[in-house]
């Protein structure tokens, strides 16, 4: 299952090294830095969960088992905010 951003449901901007994402449904803002920012950017690559984790392992040098739960938690937060889609 390919994970993607929920195009049309948010708008975003980069300020300094942070990404600010706003849900167009709720008007809520999310500030993304560090790993969260890396995941958000990687969602543009058309990866599934395993591909996404492999990408982050390559970027941050962490063990897949160590970051998997954190990635899942963040993806759930994105989904809950209406910012994540899958196909």
């Amino acid at each position: 299952m390919i994970l993607t951003k929920a195009t049309g449901h948010f708008t975003e901007t980069e300020i300094d090294d942070e990404i600010v994402v706003m849900s167009l449904e709720s008007g809520d803002f999310f500030s993304l830095t560090g790993t969260a920012k890396a995941i958000w950017l990687a969602l543009d690559a058309g990866l599934d969960r395993h591909g996404l984790i492999a990408h982050l392992v390559g970027e941050f040098g962490a063990a897949p088992n160590a970051i998997g739960p954190d990635v899942d938690t963040f993806l759930e937060q994105l989904r809950g905010a209406g910012l994540l889609a899958s196909r």
């Binding site: 300020i15 167009l24 008007g27």
Partner: protein, 287 residues
């Protein structure tokens, strides 16, 4: 030069729209009744009915009509005109108002914002003692019509200070504002600026035990722009931006303005110390 010409055009359009005359003002617009103490912005027009009986109507291309009640108070009249009415007309003509007082330095604008009573006017006026001319008092209008620059419009309000603030800032009292306000119209020590200038830094005033100046970075700049509720309300009523448009404007301001948080003790001694401190920060930032 091109930017300057464009801005001059925008500024002169606002000057034209803000002209006023006396006459009858309706009690509603666009089918909406506006009772005393309320305002309405609809169809590009602005209607304010004050509890004192004053009425203000702005219509595009026709300027402002002021209805005076019996026993009209000229001080009240100018306060409404330069306050909510001016802000509403400015918003309807594409300007964004900030609740801020500002000084100019090296051709750029440094503005101080905070809630009522935070000391915006006193700080900006007091910086006159360090050679900084006043740029505006209480309301700062911003022109966003030029993509790569945030331009600030010079102030339209006369500086108003209380007796104690006059002594602290070195400003000269010109005349009382009104019997009930306890304030005086005043001339700042280093004069004032009457031309539009690039907006450099927005400083958020906070009270605290220790004098600090903390640059605001990243998404915090974006979040801080939510602080200015009063002027944002008028802008939202006038322009009715979508969420995406609001986001875009705030992203632009967060990207193009420097921001800082000034924490200072609220005391005469704290004020004295903060003046020299802030003057140094502004000079450093401009260098």
């Amino acid at each position: 030069m091109k930017n300057t010409c464009l801005h001059d055009h925008v500024a002169s359009r606002l000057a034209s729209e803000i002209r006023w005359q006396y006459g009858e003002v309706p009690h509603g617009i666009a089918g909406v009744h506006v009772p005393p103490g309320f305002r309405c912005i609809a169809d590009g027009c602005f209607l304010l009915r004050c509890e004192s009986g004053y009425g203000y109507l702005y219509e595009p291309g026709r300027g402002i009509t002021i209805e005076r009640p019996p026993n009209a108070d000229p001080d009240e009249e100018i306060l409404w005109l330069n306050g909510s009415v001016y802000a509403g007309v400015a918003c309807l003509n594409g300007f964004l108002p900030f609740h801020a007082s500002a000084v100019a330095h090296e051709g750029r604008v440094f503005a101080f914002t905070g809630p009522a009573g935070a000391g915006k006017s006193t700080l900006a006026a007091g910086l006159g003692r360090f050679g900084f001319p006043l740029f505006c008092d209480d309301t700062l209008l911003v022109d966003l019509s030029i993509a790569d620059q945030v331009l600030a419009m010079p102030g339209h309000k006369r500086l108003k200070l209380r007796e104690d603030a006059l002594a602290m800032t070195g400003a000269t009292a010109v005349q009382p504002v009104g019997a009930e306000t306890g304030k005086h119209y005043a001339e700042p020590l280093a004069g004032s600026i009457a031309q539009s200038l690039p907006f450099d830094t927005l400083v958020f005033l906070r009270e605290g035990p220790e004098l600090t100046w903390e640059p605001i970075t990243g998404a915090a700049r974006f979040a801080m722009l939510e602080d200015d509720h009063h002027t944002q309300e008028i802008y939202a009523e006038a322009v009715r931006p979508t969420l995406a448009e609001q986001f875009s404007m705030r992203a632009r301001l967060a990207g193009q303005l420097r921001m800082a948080r000034l924490v200072r003790p609220r005391s005469t001694a704290g004020f004295e110390a903060s003046l020299a401190f802030v003057a140094d920060r502004i000079r450093e930032d401009a260098a």
